[in-house]
Amino acid sequence: MVDELKIAETKIPPIRNGTVIDHIANGQSLNVLKILGVNESNIDSVISIGMHVKSSKGNGWKDMIKVEDRELHPNEVDKIALIAPDATIAIIRDYYIAEKFKVKLEDHIVGLAKCSNPNCITNRGEPVVPEFDVESRNPPRLRCAYCDRTLTNISDNLL
């Protein structure tokens, strides 16, 4: 298994400087790219994606992303925690791991996603930021602090 993992990892070349987002729940890498804003022409560096890569954890499969010459904003890390609660973030400086941590899903989420209920008061132009209570963590289940509804399809409702 270890060899298989190594082979899988080497398919994505190592980076000199940047960020490795690993242990993304299988199939969520495109949603993570959305969080990083790759379709907004604001990234001038190479991004490598591994989809459906062998993993020793969970269901045996994961996605991973390497972003060159860029470190993540805390707000991006918080959003990744909402769709990939097991993800790890490694900051790479000159080929070495300068820092590595697991994303953390807080008990109460503020301003990261909008409520999926169109009739929720937070979607009606009021001067409030959407808030959610985290009811379960893996998979994440969020309840709107205003209308009490469960947030469906988190990745489509990220702000």
Binding site: N119, C120, I121, T122, P127, C147, D148, T150
Partner: protein
């Protein structure tokens, strides 16, 4: 539990002990609600009654409850007569009304409106219904009616029938009844069944309700039959409403299978869900239920504003 100066937005804000405390106080309010005794426990206080959606019973019973306690009332009955029709946010409206009164009662068409109001108001806010969301004071008066009729709330067999998807009263009521170990059965066509979200929440609280679309099969075991109107105004598509309108009609023939002491409740208004022939039977409790809105809301106002009875 000290309710003084507290908001009442959702039935989830209360635990079993707090609910029982409010129901006990409601019991003591009955002679005052009937006008048999008089005490101006909330003299010189002002209630802001904001109803941005149609209401008869809830609005009038809050007003009646306030007047019975000597509390003055300022009110708004529709959005079109306020600055909200000019584009003012609810948040600004609430901040303004907050300066004119001691407690705000809010009915609003959007879910979460009362929670938002509570955030922007210095004074306490009571939710009188927010869209298809919560209606905690209706839940309390429903529980009060059941307790008065059946002697206790513990272990009641309650059948809820009608619009369980859009009907806000049934969501809060089902949640509250789980605190008392009720056996719940939901009777509705599949398109109007209890939302999966609410169903799962009830299961997480240790209650696994039964589900069916046939009332005949469950009415014989019921202690309480809680009937709701299929609400035309909540249907996005009128054709969908036509498909299910008039699905359940409670008549004396339907009640023949019921226990002799089973009670029929309805939050009202009814359209044709309960035939008038049921009204004079001992089963019918819906008008008593409507009256109970007054003592229960008196208890709520008194507890929050600190009146002494």
């Amino acid at each position: 539990m000290d309710f003084y100066d507290k908001d009442l937005v959702s039935i989830r804000d209360l635990d079993r002990g707090q609910i029982e405390e409010l129901l006990d106080l409601s019991e003591r309010m009955i002679p005052y609600a009937r006008g048999e005794k008089v005490k101006r426990a909330l003299d010189s206080r002002i209630l802001g009654n904001l109803f941005f959606e149609p209401s008869t019973r809830t609005k009038l019973s809050f007003e009646s409850a306030a007047y019975r306690l000597g509390c003055d009332v300022i009110d708004v009955s529709e959005m079109s007569v306020t600055s909200m029709s000019k584009g003012e946010t609810l948040a600004d409206t609430i901040k303004m009304v907050d300066a004119y009164c001691d407690l705000i009662v809010l009915r609003h068409p959007h879910e979460g409106a009362a929670r938002l109001a509570a955030k922007f108001s210095e004074n306490p806010v009571v939710n009188a219904g927010d869209g298809a969301g919560s209606h905690p004071t209706q839940t309390l008066l429903d529980l009060f009616t059941m307790r008065r009729s059946k002697g206790s709330l513990d272990g009641l067999n309650v059948v809820l029938v009608g619009d369980l998807k859009y009907g806000r009263t049934v969501h809060s009521l089902a949640e509250a009844l789980t605190m008392f170990g009720a056996k719940l059965t939901f009777v509705a066509p599949e398109s109007l069944q209890m939302p999966a979200d609410t169903f799962e929440h009830l299961k997480s609280r240790g209650c696994t309700p039964g589900k069916t679309d046939e009332l005949d099969s469950v009415i014989g075991q019921a202690d309480v039959l809680y009937v709701t109107r299929i609400q035309k105004e909540r249907f996005p598509d009128p054709a969908e409403y036509q498909k299910v309108a008039g699905t359940y009609r409670i008549s004396n023939a339907v009640l023949r299978e019921a226990k002799s002491d089973m009670i029929v409740m309805h939050p009202l208004p009814r359209v044709d869900e309960i035939l008038p022939e049921v009204d004079p039977t001992p089963h019918a409790k819906y008008f008593e239920q409507a009256f109970n809105g007054v003592p229960v809301r008196m208890a709520i106002l008194c507890s929050i504003l600190g009146g002494d009875i």
